[in-house]
Amino acid sequence: MKLKYLAVVLSLVVSSCVYAPPEPEVWMEKGASLTQYKAFEVLPAQNETGKTFGFDVGATLTAKLIAKLHAKGYSVQPAASPGEDVLLLRSSVMVLEEGSLITLFPEAAYCTVRTALIDKKTGGLLGEMVTSKEFRTGGLLEGGGAGAIGLAGSEPLLIDLIAEGIVNELEKRIKQH
């Protein structure tokens, strides 16, 4: 009986790790800061994986970024007020691999996105981030969470979590003192 409870708790803990948004690795230009930006323009994200998928990878990432910025209360162009400093986001999906749930040889699903942060007024590059997320589908410990992901198709969810990671990082840097 105790083992059953332990398995449920372990499954919940592991699932929360599986669904956690990743933290991007960030390079910033010397002296650059994002604190003055409250408005964004999200350029159409590109699929640079060299592969095609069952859904539009670039459009999905673009839509997710816009939705998550809106959800945090930021204005996204063309709705930004005149005179506001606008930060351009230019993203490319560099790696996207579909996972496999075949139990004998479960393969991970993973994704890497590169995002350039550009000041709209000057066109200057302020920084770049690389954001990666991996689901080890069907793995011994991740079976519960990743199994559900696999059934629904893990790639859009990977992109959703990556978009969340990017927006969380932007918010952290905008609120930095």
């Binding site: 890497t112 590169r114 770049e128 690389v130």
Partner: protein, 179 residues
Amino acid sequence: MNGTVSLITFFFGVVILSACAAAPDVDRMIPSAPPSAVLHSDKVLRVGEVTGGKETNPLMQSMIDDTGFRQALVDTLQRSGLFRSVITDQAAADYELQAEIVSQEVQGIYDATATLFVNYRLLEVSSHREIWKENLLSRYMAKFEESFIGVERRRKANEGVVRENLLQLVDRLSQVLPK
């Protein structure tokens, strides 16, 4: 009986040792194919600091470290013919190249995909002017067939991703260096 125990011990010893992660091999991080467009100049390049790399923990996974990456960078630039000479000490030089490894990642179980993101800066030594800077992102997939051992495949992925990054670097330098 003793022979069987020795054999089993030997077998597990080999398995354990082969499962230890190793840092990427410098020679295998150097691109073998010469870049397509190469500009030959009479300038001397100093390869400066490399930062951001991580040391390999044998119990974890293969990582690209500063020393190995710098050595591969120096050897690649020497072989590229872009400069009259490539130095690492404080002797007189025309340019200095600095590199910061911003991100390195290896993903996947059977086919391991490595990504490497490096910030490069080229400075003119006499004026301390930055004449070029760029972030280069490279990818490399080490297929399952390359090695059946996971840690070995991850090391090969790291070696491949450095080669790809250095190829991009030589290509970009050949375009941006003053003719």
